[in-house]
């Protein structure tokens, strides 16, 4: 009992010190472990100043990264917004690594420190350590080491080949970052394991053994005669990881440039799960801090004053302006994710008739188990498609707007009513599907016989064309890396070519 009084005195003093943080971490970790049954990586909590936080922002949270002007730009941009008061820095920043590093701002109050520790060091940490996307696609153990390697490698290249040339390669690779993600390796946990195995094997073999292109190089002229008697298509299957394809097959790229591409590809791959789980990740972390802080209050570690401050911050995080508010800037992922997780809990504990109809599997189940299951096995699009309930749609008053290029008016597609629930849900799921954001572009052919020209195909979805200027600029980058002309065709559903972008 004496212990608790001591903690209480520390936590309710707005000025924190080192002992406070240590005590907070200890108590919060215990609650996370015992009450929420969270399995986490060990934590490393770092106290930083606002300027250091800006530095961390610029490197997207990584403790170190290779040098590049883009990070400088982001720094300047954030700094501007921050010093003008247009942007607040988040209270924390957390990295998917083992140990899980989180940066906490020095000027947080004690209450904020506790909130942040619960949010990042328990919520995000557990999400990184358990969600399948992160487990399958990132290696939390080695990312920090890898970035140290990347930095050293790039610095060495700058010394050896000049900053400009290195920058040129990095710029080009960055332009293709979204197309540097391996989706073939995507393991779909629930079904079709065999097919996945097959795909994996296929890509593996193809990647290990295929390099037809080399044989077209002038150094082996004889090979052309013997091998290409019949017309061959290369690659045999379209490749959607453009960066990978260039890294492996670009005919005249020096090895160090291939290595730089590889670095960018690895980073892209590392961040891929974060982009695909933003709603879930923030939602879960918010869900976690909400429960932990309430538990702290229940157990008497904190007083009413603390809770008032907490509720103010918590509701600030969850603020969702309506579509017609001047503060509106899209759906708040914290709010959406938190609402869905809270609703899963509610449906387990107090199901209504509607829930029994919509979510029979949840009714009467152990809420904590369900929450864990969801947190581990989904990503944003599947999470929303599976768990966005009519109640959340109603609470948030979600509706869809149809914006057809060919019409002068928007149409309201569906609203938060009986007829609209499913459509809103599907639509929102689509919205978080990667393919609706990143155009589907694949390497379809290389002219092996004459020009070494690289052919890309854009598969048009929902009549969405490519932005022409940006496309040309990106193709220029590919042209630079590939070393030979590049052509891109936008094809519609019927396979008919709608537009061609050509870079000689």
């Amino acid at each position: 009992m004496m212990e608790k009084e001591k903690y209480r005195a520390m936590f309710c003093n707005p000025n924190w010190d080192y002992d406070t943080l240590e005590a907070a971490d200890e108590v919060i970790s215990r609650i996370g472990r015992e009450y929420l049954k969270l399995k986490t990586y060990p934590n490393q909590i770092e106290i930083v100043t606002s300027e250091q936080m800006l530095d961390a922002y610029a490197l997207t949270g990584l403790p170190t990264s290779y040098p590049h002007w883009k990070f400088g730009k982001d720094f300047v941009l954030n700094q501007n917004n921050y010093t003008k008061g247009r942007m607040g820095l988040s209270y924390e920043l957390v990295i998917n690594s083992n140990p899980c590093i989180s940066y906490n701002m020095e000027n947080n109050s004690t209450c904020m420190m506790l909130l942040v520790i619960a949010h990042a060091c328990q919520g995000h940490n557990a999400f990184f350590a358990n969600n399948y996307m992160f487990l399958d696609w990132t290696s939390a153990d080695s990312i920090v080491d890898y970035m140290v390697f990347a930095r050293e490698f790039i610095l060495k290249c700058e010394e050896e080949y000049g900053e400009e040339e290195v920058e040129r390669v990095l710029d080009a690779a960055h332009a293709l970052m979204h197309h540097g993600v391996d989706k073939y390796k995507k393991p779909s946990k629930i079904s079709a394991k065999e097919e996945n195995e097959r795909l994996k094997k296929l890509t593996h073999i193809r990647r290990e053994n295929y390099n037809e292109l080399w044989r077209t190089l002038p150094t082996a002229p004889a090979a052309t005669d013997t091998i290409f008697v019949e017309e061959q298509v290369f690659p045999k299957e379209p490749e959607e990881n453009i960066l990978y394809f260039i890294e492996k097959f670009a005919p005249a790229l020096p090895q160090w440039k291939r290595e730089i591409i590889r670095i960018v590809r690895k980073v892209s791959q590392y961040f891929y799960p974060q982009g695909a789980t933003k709603v879930m990740n923030e939602g879960f972390a918010t869900f976690t801090h909400y429960h932990i802080i309430n538990k702290l209050f229940e157990e008497g570690y904190v007083n009413d004053g603390f809770m008032l401050e907490f509720i103010k911050s918590h509701s600030g995080v969850l603020y969702q302006p309506g579509y017609n508010s001047k503060y509106y800037s899209g759906l708040n992922p914290y709010t959406l994710g938190f609402n869905i997780f809270m609703d899963i809990k509610r449906m387990c504990l107090e199901p209504t008739a509607e829930d029994r109809q919509w979510f029979p599997d949840l009714v009467g189940k152990d809420w904590l188990q369900q929450v864990h299951y969801v947190m581990e096995n989904f990503r944003d699009d599947s999470f929303i498609l599976q768990y966005l309930s009519p109640k959340v749609i109603r609470d948030m008053k979600l509706f869809t707007i149809i914006d057809n290029e060919l019409e002068n008016e928007y149409e309201i597609g569906a609203i938060h009513n009986e007829r609209g629930y499913r459509r809103v849900r599907e639509q929102l799921s689509n919205q978080y599907d990667r393919s609706s954001m990143v155009p589907n572009i694949q390497v379809t052919k290389v002219d092996l016989h004459q020009t070494s020209k690289l052919y890309l195909t854009h598969y048009i979805q929902k009549d969405r064309r490519l932005d022409a200027d940006s496309t040309y600029d990106t193709l220029e980058h590919i042209r630079y890396l590939w070393g030979y002309p590049v052509e891109l065709h936008s094809k519609n559903k019927l396979g008919i070519n709608e537009s061609t972008y050509d870079v000689l």
Binding site: D55, L59, L331, I402, D463, L466
Partner: protein, 421 residues
Amino acid sequence: MSHIVDRRKNDKGKSTGNRQKFLKRVESQIKKAIPDIISQESIKDTQTGGNVKVPVRGLDEPSFRHDPKSGKKQIVKPGNDKFNEGDRVPKPKNGGKGSGVGKGSNSPEVTEDEFTVVLSREEFLKYFFEDLALPNMVKKLMESTEIVEMKRAGYTRDSVPSRLNIKTSYQQSLGRQLALKGVFDKKLQNLLEQLETTTDPEERAALEVEIEKVRKQANTIPFFEDIDLRYNNFERVPVPVTSAVMFCIMDVSASMGFHEKDIAKRFFTLLYIFLTRQYKNVELVFIRHHTEAKEVDEEEFFNSRESGGTVVAPSLKLMDQIRRERYDESWNVYCCQASDGDVWSKQDAVDCKKLVQESILPAIQYMAYIEINNKPKEGDLWQAYKRISNDENFAIRHIYEVYEIWPVFQGLFRKRNEATV
């Protein structure tokens, strides 16, 4: 068990290197933006503020992305307050931007890409002056930013008769005379003693001759010899000049409209910043003239509406007068005259030329005349000045559009070594 680390004492500025890389990348844009920035501020303020904000745009990082306008999109939004399924809402006129649709890349309006870079004063000046240098002759004077003064520094044995210092030379002479006399006296005494003790007549005779000789010598020590002469010595001591004055002369006759004045102001501002770089203290004298010339303050210079016919020479006369009265030789004097080139009479232009050539140019460092008009015909003033302009310390240039200011300015102050080699 978690690990808590206090990073606050660690290095800040982890991003400095990246920031430098970024600045290098937007260098050309910063340079382009500079003339615009300075024209927005009052001339004197351009030097005082702490930071300079440079708008930067077009740092788009390309990628494959959808044309935001294209296709059929469905967007989910929160907070429905009035819509029902099937309702139709007109799109906003500006191409449906309201619905989160991006903006065209060539639109002149502010886009998300544009943001300002805050440069420190030093960084700003570095970009500003990177390609500039002073014209050769002016450069010499300005770069040293000092004049030489003659200062008394002891005495020297060799100089011109006008610097002979009689007192010191006399002292030298007395000293020499005393010294020599002492030697002879001692010698004489020795001889006299020998004379007394010697009895041999032959020897006595020789001694007496000797004594006579020494006596003669002692009496004929020269009053002045060359080695006595001392001249006043002067050394050239550099005295730093930290002040400059810039005369801004503007024609405000009816023909000078807002546009013309704006151009003039921008040009004056550039010159002011340029000078401030060289001197600790730069003063401005504003002279406006129509038929009469008048000294005014900056505010009135650019904003007053008073107007009339054009007579130019009085303004130059006034300038010359102010210079003589207030600014002695320790000041570096610059003059910039802006006009649309119209003068009341040919005689006025002739007077101007004479003034500039005979009394202004010999006394000042640099004068620039800029003619602001878009007429095909050269103004009278231009024709008069043309014959005496040499670019070395008197340059004349023609400007009409804002974008011409910077190239003209650069032309005037371009690094000469490239041009001459």
